[in-house]
């Protein structure tokens, strides 16, 4: 038992002969993926923070009430409305831009994974990732809202 442990702690892990090689789980790819996730999250958080600070400093003092759901979506329920508000320096729109960026971070993550599989010419997983991306874009574009 002890003998075996000292053997394996220095040698690379024994790999069964039928085990596939998995470049996508290798350090290089992982670092790029990790960086994209971090960058996207930080950018989104920074924009949101900016919006909140603006809102607290300059925002209106009209009381908030979320006790009942407003069935009619306002202008900030469309990407166009958010951009229009950001150009007017509306703090709520800036917050919403941060939120939109945050929602897009996972999509960027999937897109990155797709690029990795393309580099590796892994046709099966290029197809799988494209399916995920297609469904995701359908949802993000407002499909299934009814």
């Amino acid at each position: 038992m002890n003998e075996q442990k000292s053997n394996t702690s220095t040698a690379p892990a024994p790999r069964p002969p039928d085990a596939p090689r998995q470049p996508i789980n290798q350090p290089g790819s992982r670092h790029i993926l990790a960086r994209v996730i971090t960058a996207g999250t930080l950018a989104a958080a920074a924009v949101t923070l900016l919006g909140v600070v603006l809102f607290l400093v300059t925002g209106s003092r009209e009381p908030v009430n979320y006790a009942t759901f407003d069935e009619s979506p306002g202008p900030l329920a469309t990407v166009r409305g958010v951009f229009r508000g950001v150009l007017d320096l509306d703090p709520k729109a800036i917050i919403q831009l941060g939120v939109v960026l945050l929602i897009l971070t996972p999509a960027a993550r999937v897109a990155c994974t797709l690029i990795q599989f393309i580099i590796e010419r892994d046709k099966l997983y290029i197809a799988v990732t494209l399916i995920v991306l297609a469904i995701l874009i359908y949802g993000l574009a407002g499909g299934a809202v009814h």
Partner: protein, 283 residues
């Protein structure tokens, strides 16, 4: 309520939710929805929207570290995302059709299940498995850095099995996550741990990697439906993100056993109250 104290109180509550969610492994969603609904009197539909955004933030916040450390199996993640994302669209669609009482009822059930999962000891990983035909064709078997008794790390090989069963459960996880705004890590761990037999560390981190993608699909739907309110989302997102990053830092240095038990008790009470609320609403 005046927006300034509302924002600041919600920020404080969300830091605590993110912190406890990360420390106990339950995720922020099971805390944020009760916090918004019971403490701040927010409608379920807004609460679910805000919670989903917080779930994306915390998933992205911690996924980066885990992907870098090599625990996440990206192939399994992407493959199962096909099921969870489809489930998320189904769930977001269904949530628009049913009464909030139904949502409260489902949320209560999900919370009780999560609480139970948190206090139940994890099952040790089984013996070396035979190669599975589907998993082999899909190249899912992989390895991860496992700590050895002498403190060094060694790449340990693992096999995957029961891919179709795992995917079916993951579809359900996607539906649940979208309907009530939680990461539904408990369902994902059930699929990957118990059914597909992944090592615990791999299943939890891969699940965390997927949670953000799953939540993004339904958050897109909720955004267009007007359920994502900026004034409410901002403190929730920033608080949950800060809290979960803090929790991940503290995690290796604290004994979470008692905290987890205490926390499971608290959310059990919240879960029961949601169920009562749901039943009352339906009667």
């Amino acid at each position: 309520m005046d927006p300034v104290p509302f924002t600041l109180l919600l920020l404080a509550g969300s830091v605590a939710a993110g912190f406890l969610g990360a420390l106990t492994g339950l995720g922020g969603g099971v805390v944020i929805v009760p916090l918004l609904v019971m403490v701040f009197g927010v409608d379920m539909r807004y609460a679910i929207g805000a919670s989903l955004i917080a779930v994306i933030a915390t998933s992205s916040g911690s996924a980066a570290a885990y992907v870098r450390d090599g625990f996440t199996n990206v192939r399994i993640g992407v493959l199962l995302e096909v099921a969870t994302v489809l489930g998320a669209l189904t769930g977001a669609y269904l949530a628009g059709l049913v009464d909030t009482s139904v949502l409260a009822l489902i949320f209560g059930g999900a919370v009780l299940w999560s609480a139970w999962g948190a206090i139940k000891p994890p099952k040790p990983h089984g013996p070396e498995l035979e190669p599975d035909r589907i998993a082999t064709r899909l190249k899912l078997d992989s390895s991860f850095p496992q700590k050895q008794p002498d403190g060094t790390k060694k790449d340990t090989f693992y096999r995957v099995r029961q891919v179709p069963g795992g995917m079916a459960i993951m579809y359900g996880a996607g539906v649940l996550s979208a309907m009530v705004g939680i990461g539904s890590g408990i369902v994902k761990v059930l699929a990957m741990d118990r059914v597909m037999r992944l090592p615990f560390k791999v299943s939890t981190t891969t699940s965390n990697f997927m949670i953000g993608v799953t939540a993004a699909a339904s958050a897109g739907v909720y955004f267009h439906r007007g359920q994502i309110d900026p004034v409410m989302c901002a403190p929730v997102v920033l608080g949950a993100l800060a809290g979960s990053l803090l929790g991940a830092r503290v995690l290796p240095r604290v004994n979470v056993k008692w905290l987890r038990l205490l926390f499971a008790t608290v959310i059990t009470i919240a879960g029961v109250r949601f169920i009562i609320r749901g039943v009352e609403g339906l009667l």
